[in-house]
Symmetry: C2
Subunit: 164 residues, 2 copies
């Protein structure tokens, strides 16, 4: 199953491991923060937020949605590894911004022959979407009563702005 | 809801944005790869894999599990943004490795007063866990028939090794 990109990644990792010096870090994030953001390739979370290796849990999916899997991850983060703050970060020019759910289901059917009734998470208003994820997390009774903030990352400028 | 860490992150981001030069990137990942890995704070995905901003989708949750939300994210990644390869990366010393599901549910109940029947994703055999996630993704009829590989990242050494 290997590809050229897979082989390149393993080669780059061998270079990384040669000078690796982070073996003393433990699993608990040093800042006590868990980030929830999008999988988007243009967001280098550590660089954009000034985080170092070991600083924060970073949870990512399509759209930065507060899904059941994100809530599971935050429960593990809080109960096993002691984080006490959540920051949700949506971003401009997200693929799901203005996406057409029916068209996406059609693409899946056309390319794989599989019908799906999945909701992909398309949204129309970025700031409102981020606020809704923050509200979802604040409303989870199983999560600790900790700060939950919402930010938008602008892929055009690299800048964060607070929306919740 | 702001904290000292939140303010520090916004300050660091202002420094980042001052020299930001990635505004020309589009949403489609340049390598065509989607990474699925753990939220663990010790994994700097870009550094460890030799990826640059814009190269790859990075999906992260507690344990690198192939959850329904990961499958949703991969469908968006493939159908909207053209990725054609998946690499699943588990890691050593994961908080969920050998974790006790009942004890975790007890911690949630003790700290929040909320009973949950959630399965947190604890596992006993790291390599087998990664292989199982790879098999889950390979078996999804709605995903494209693309390479799916499995790696283990060693937080002690920074090294990746292939397991599937």
């Amino acid at each position: 199953m290997a590809s050229g990109e897979f082989d390149r990644i393993l080669g780059e990792n061998a270079r990384y491991a040669r000078t690796f010096d982070r073996s003393a870090l433990t699993a608990a994030p040093l800042t006590g923060v868990a980030i929830v953001t999008c999988m988007d390739a243009r967001i280098d979370v550590e660089d954009a937020l000034g985080l170092r290796v070991g600083d924060a849990h970073i949870i990512r999916n399509a759209g930065a949605l507060a899904s059941a899997d994100v809530i599971r991850s935050l429960l593990v983060s809080q109960q096993l590894l002691g984080t006490r703050e959540v920051i949700v970060i949506g971003h401009t020019r997200c693929g799901l911004h203005g996406a057409d759910e029916a068209a996406l289901r059609g693409k899946v059917a056309d390319s794989t022959g599989t019908d799906t009734d999945l909701h992909f998470g398309a949204f129309d208003d970025l700031d409102a979407m981020v606020r809704a994820q923050v509200e979802t997390l604040r409303g989870q009774p199983a999560l600790l009563d900790t700060p939950v903030s919402g930010l938008v990352y602008e892929v055009e400028t690299g800048r964060l702005r607070a929306v919740a």
